[in-house]
């Protein structure tokens, strides 16, 4: 709450050990009001909900034995890091979760707050904070059941510290969901040249290829910081239909599900990497992780 009154200047030049990159913030500042135009600059993110929400939902349903009719994520506390205008926070809130959305850019939080304010159910379920991940670690140790960092890790300054902070605010055996872009020739051609410069589905300058994260690198960082990687799946955007789909290859976009090790420091040894096949796996009885 106090962070809302902190002057913006202080946050831009905040500690050198921050995961927030000030250059990145400037890029998003210009588009802070465009989040909710479904046909606008963020249309690809809107349509990404069609695969990332079911991915999160079904993974969590498969892991739990409770099912609340009409509110599949009821009782789940989710942290949406880099929530932007709240594009992903809102569907998760509608599914019953208690969502905390954080974003270093105040204007994004303002947009997000205003958008949720008209829906009394969402207004109660979602709380937005203008903050970086590090800034909430102290007051949120082991608070969240789930962390979602979608289209964020390719913008952070220090990925390892980001992951360490995720681990600190996540409950033991909690889930971490990441979607991001691979660092390959193909991702340069499709993700930057085509997407930004040719057909313009991503605002120009949004991404820097140097900061893209190969899945192997992400897996290594996760595993060495107390996470067990459960699922890695490639994603593909079709600019003609404006829709996303899953694919085998992780050469461009991909999604990761990882679980923080249990309280005794061991992750389940027998879990094999599972592939998400369809968009609607049924909710099965809970399995311990």
């Amino acid at each position: 709450q106090l962070s809302l009154f902190r002057p913006t200047v202080k946050r831009l030049f905040s500690t050198s050990h921050s995961s927030v990159d000030s250059k990145e913030m400037k890029k998003f500042q210009l588009l802070a009001h465009k989040w909710w135009d479904e046909e606008g600059e963020y249309s690809a993110l809107h349509s990404m909900n069609d695969i990332r929400v079911p991915f999160i939902r079904d993974t969590l349903l498969n892991m739990s034995s409770n099912y609340h009719l009409g509110n599949p994520l009821s009782g789940v506390k989710i942290l949406d890091v880099g929530c932007g205008g709240g594009l992903l926070s809102e569907p998760l809130g509608r599914l019953g979760a208690s969502v905390t959305g954080i974003d270093p850019l105040e204007d994004n939080i303002r947009t997000a707050d205003q958008h949720k304010s008209f829906d009394p159910v969402l207004a109660k379920r979602i709380q937005y904070k203008s903050s970086s991940l590090e800034e909430i670690v102290e007051e949120s140790m082991e608070t969240f059941d789930v962390i979602v960092a979608s289209e964020v890790v390719e913008h952070v300054a220090d990925l390892e510290m980001f992951i360490k902070c995720c681990s600190q605010v996540l409950k033991p055996e909690g889930s971490l969901f990441i979607t991001t872009i691979n660092k390959t020739q193909l991702s340069y051609v499709l993700g930057i040249v085509v997407a930004e410069k040719i057909i313009g589905i991503v605002p120009e300058g949004t991404h820097e290829w140097e900061k893209f994260v190969p899945p192997k690198e992400l897996e290594r960082l996760l595993e060495s910081n107390g996470f067990s990687v459960k699922t890695v799946n490639g994603m593909l955007y079709n600019p003609l239909s404006g829709s996303w789909s899953w694919m085998e290859s992780t050469s461009v976009n991909y999604a990761v599900h990882a679980v923080k090790s249990g309280a005794w420091g061991q992750s389940s040894p027998t879990e094999a990497l599972s592939e998400v096949e369809s968009e609607h796996p049924s909710a099965t009885a809970g399995t311990t992780v």
């Binding site: 909710w36 479904e38 349509s47 009719l69 009409g70 569907p91 205003q114 008209f118």
Partner: protein, 465 residues
């Protein structure tokens, strides 16, 4: 935080008020102390299609915690007991519609009240001997004749069963709608505002227009409607047959003035749907009961419209077919003759066709007659509406399970594409049939005679219908 939140809320309220002021002269200048109640879905129109839509959503698992409202201008009707006499408004319910109704428990109620399954449909021409018979090979029911009141009774019961989720507003006519701006980037409310005749207001994330062929929702949304008034009215009545019979056949004869249909209600009663010119319809209503019964029998039995030329040509074609396909022509059954008409059961209503150019807009969807209106000659009207419901409910259920904004065009457009693809060809075909059969001109009669005979002989085509 509470201070901050109060500022944000206050600014939001004032801003939404400003938005309403600019929406039109209707919006009153007053401070809103409490915002109008917000619903996830509001269905406008409590007829068979509107009520079924609300009931289907109310019984959907993914709508368990959602708020749905149904607006009906008329009063709540109690259907505790069905009167002994049959109502003159009946519908032909297809097996697909029956499946939809049973998916939320309404079909059981219909079966426990009354309905008449039929196994066969015989359709023939007044100007020739051409005939086509529809029946299912596996002796399954082709469809069911059900009184509209029976369907409404079943729907009302199922709405009562989910009263915690579905609020039905009787005696509530919507008089005004305020649409939100599609790209929500300013401070105005993103919801559809509905103003009722008594001054109450509702807000909703999705408005479903099920308010009939003169849909107010469609007009207010400025959706263009392609419409055409036929020079025909339909005369309905409840008839008693001369003698009890199995009565599991639906009969329809195409007269030059329009089709006359006899739909079975029981072993001794049938429902009449006679589409004819406005003048003839008025005459039929005015004449005494005996003359009325005579007109009906004569319409089904008389061969006055036959011409030798057509009869010969038809017979030739039939022999040609039987050479190629010995079992090509089916046995012609004779329709029952009518003895009496239920007094007070005669009524008429004008006919027309209509098709909305769009079924959806941001936060709006049209279903049933609001989206499309057809001639009763194919018995499809309400079935198209139930088909709309099944499709829209499927997409809304998936959207709810994905946490999507229910009013988003993304899934509404999928509903529109699917239904328009299905409906347009059927609606056009019904219109063409109506025009084709409204003439005595020999070439067209020959065309339709041969067409009907050919269709009757070709199993694949018949199965599709």
């Amino acid at each position: 935080t509470s201070a901050v939140m109060a500022v944000v809320c206050g600014r939001g309220l004032l801003a939404s008020l400003a938005g309403r002021l600019w929406a039109g002269p209707r919006a009153p200048l007053r401070f809103v102390t409490a915002a109008a109640p917000l619903y996830d879905v509001v269905v406008s129109g409590g007829g068979m299609v509107g009520s079924a839509m609300a009931a289907v959503l109310g019984h959907d698992t993914h709508f368990h915690d959602k708020k749905i409202a149904l607006l009906e201008a008329g009063p709540r009707k109690e259907y505790d007991r069905m009167p002994d006499s049959y109502s003159n408004r009946v519908s032909s319910i297809s097996p697909g519609s029956a499946t939809l109704l049973s998916s939320f428990g309404a079909w059981d109620h219909v079966c426990s009240l009354r309905l008449k399954p039929f196994r066969r449909m015989q359709v023939w021409d007044a100007c020739s001997e051409a005939m086509i018979v529809f029946e299912k090979d596996d002796l399954d029911d082709m469809g069911y004749i059900v009184e509209n009141d029976v369907i409404m009774s079943a729907l009302t019961k199922q709405l009562d069963a989910v009263a915690d989720r579905v609020e039905v507003f009787y005696g509530s006519r919507a008089v005004g709608y305020t649409w939100p701006l599609p790209s929500h980037s300013c401070d105005t409310s993103p919801w559809v505002q509905i103003e009722l005749a008594d001054g109450r207001r509702l807000q909703t994330k999705l408005l479903i227009g099920a308010d009939g062929h003169n849909s107010v929702v469609r007009k207010e949304a400025k959706i263009k409607n392609v419409e055409h008034r036929y020079d025909q009215s339909a005369v309905v009545a409840t008839l008693h047959l001369s003698e009890a019979t199995d009565n599991n056949v639906a009969w329809q004869r195409f007269l030059p003035t329009g089709p006359i249909a006899l739909l079975p209600l029981s072993d001794t009663a049938s429902s009449l749907v006679w589409s004819t010119s406005h003048e003839h319809a008025s005459e039929l209503l005015a004449m005494d009961e005996e003359s009325f019964v005579d007109s009906i029998n004569s319409a089904f039995w008389s061969n006055v419209n036959h011409s030798d030329f057509i009869d010969t040509a038809g017979a030739m074609f039939r022999s040609a077919i039987s050479l190629l396909k010995p079992s090509g022509t089916a046995v012609r059954q004779l329709p029952p003759s009518v003895a009496k008409v239920d007094p007070e059961s005669r009524a008429m209503f004008p006919l027309g066709m209509g098709h909305a150019t769009e079924y959806v807009q941001h936060r709006v969807a049209l279903i049933g007659d609001a989206a499309h209106r057809v001639h009763p000659l194919a018995g499809q009207g309400v079935n198209l509406g139930f088909g709309d419901i099944a499709c829209l409910a499927h997409h809304l259920s998936a959207a709810a399970f994905n946490g999507s904004d229910l009013g988003s065009l993304k899934h509404l457009l999928k509903f529109e594409t699917e239904r328009q693809r299905h409906n347009v060809s059927l609606i056009a075909a019904i219109d063409v049939l109506k025009r084709l059969y409204s003439t005595r001109l020999a070439p067209l009669v020959l065309l339709r005679t041969w067409g009907l005979q050919a269709t009757n002989a070709l199993p694949p085509v018949k199965v599709r219908i």
